[in-house]
């Protein structure tokens, strides 16, 4: 049986001929319809919720504008979206595709509307934005403003098409061959020689290998999504900016899954910081949002606190230790190693803390 990730990628690829076969004014509507049909065949419950939310959100925001009750409209819409996301996460046995990503996209629309950065979107524009299959299951969490701008500029270009095709192909190679197979095999060989190491060290090493594999898989899948979008004629937001070059943990989180971290910066960190006047409170809230977005568990609460601790230590180090006086080669090689060490240490540390609790 074909694996779901592969099937979704093939279905997303089929959106390309659909987009170019239709008249330009209807191309993205055709992709939205294809997305609905494809997802409905695989996961009817999540598709019903996605389409329902994509239809009702503009109506709710429009009602907020007309009645002058913007706060109430935003609060109700956001609560319903978050509740559905939580309920889906806590309900085992139902097929749910893309919920983590489309919930954040909806909240972005609601948040920007509430803050006055965005007019209530038209139904058709909102459906085209929310129902764009290439980015449904791996992100990025693209913004409606970028999508609309790109949709307006969209026209055929052989250069963009072949750039997108190449990017998709190399992205699939990175995800399936390098991250999904090669790194794990190499990691398995590496771990064979560590049987007499302490359990903590072995777990730490496993975790480091998983982070490397995760990079190739996740960045590869994102490349597939962005490559297909480019083949359709849309240049969407990047998700990675050479995270292996990060000099410290703060720098890493500005380079890794950038669409999620910028989402958390705009809709969690800044509002919490503005409310509490505390950057630390904003950081804790943003990291908890990132952790719990991945999974609702105590493990991810501890994982979030571990990341906060790492960023606090990083900021203190940058403030009090003359890191800039270190040789450039040492910063370039040592920084990424320290970052990988900290990130991968989260697993053995948090698992042991869980055993104590």
């Amino acid at each position: 049986m074909i694996e779901t990730a592969t099937l979704l990628m093939l279905l997303a690829l089929l959106a390309v001929p659909i987009a170019w076969a239709l008249p330009p004014a209807l191309a993205l509507d055709g992709v939205a319809l294809w997305t609905t049909v494809s997802l409905a065949a695989l996961a009817p419950a999540s598709t019903a919720w996605l389409v329902g939310a994509a239809v009702l959100t503009p109506a709710a925001l429009d009602a907020g504008d007309r009645t002058g009750q913007r706060d109430i409209a935003a609060a109700i819409t956001a609560s319903v979206l978050i509740s559905a996301f939580v309920a889906a996460r806590l309900t085992p046995g139902i097929a749910w595709i893309g919920g983590a990503f489309f919930t954040l996209r909806h909240l972005h629309v609601v948040g920007d509307w509430w803050m006055g950065r965005l007019a209530a979107p038209r139904l058709r524009a909102h459906l085209r934005y929310q129902l764009f299959l290439p980015v449904m299951f791996t992100g990025p969490i693209h913004r409606i403003q970028t999508f609309e701008r790109q949709a307006l500029r969209r026209r055929w270009g052989a250069q963009e098409f072949f750039d997108g095709l190449e990017r998709s192909l190399l992205g699939a190679l990175s995800a399936f061959v390098v991250g999904g197979w090669l790194v794990r095999r190499a990691g398995g060989v590496l771990m064979r020689g560590t049987s007499d190491f302490p359990a903590f060290a072995r777990e730490w090493m496993y975790s480091a290998i998983d982070w490397v594999a995760l990079y190739f898989v996740f960045a590869g899948l994102t490349s597939v999504a962005l490559g297909i979008a480019l083949m359709i004629g849309l240049k969407l937001e990047e998700n990675f900016n050479r995270p292996w070059e990060a000099r410290n943990l703060l720098d890493f989180w500005l380079r890794w899954h950038m669409s999620l971290t910028s989402w958390c910066r705009d809709y969690v960190f800044r509002p919490v910081m503005a409310l509490t006047r505390s950057a630390l409170a904003g950081l804790i809230a943003a990291m908890l949002a990132i952790g719990l977005w991945h999974e609702f568990s105590l493990y991810y609460v501890l994982w979030s606190i571990w990341q906060v601790l790492g960023i606090v230590i990083t900021r203190a180090t940058l403030r009090y230790v003359p890191v800039g006086s270190c040789p450039k080669w040492l910063r370039a090689s040592g920084g990424p190693l320290i970052v990988l060490g900290w990130l991968s240490a989260a697993r053995p540390v948090c698992s042991r803390l869980l055993e104590l609790l």
Binding site: T6, A88, P92, E166, A172, G180
Partner: protein
């Protein structure tokens, strides 16, 4: 020219770029299909719950 073609053009004579690109694309496609079909690939981070 695609980014990979530009990269190849910097390191090899122009007549070799096209054939090299074809070989790389074919190898990439074949290994990806083999890996995807082998069932040994662990694709994480796809937002699919309860597959």
């Amino acid at each position: 020219m695609t980014p990979l073609a530009k990269l190849l053009a910097r390191v090899m004579p122009a007549p070799l770029v096209g054939p090299s690109l074809s070989v790389i694309y074919a190898a990439a496609m074949a290994t990806t299909l083999l890996a995807a079909g082998s069932g040994q690939v662990d694709i994480i981070y796809v937002d699919v719950q309860a597959r």
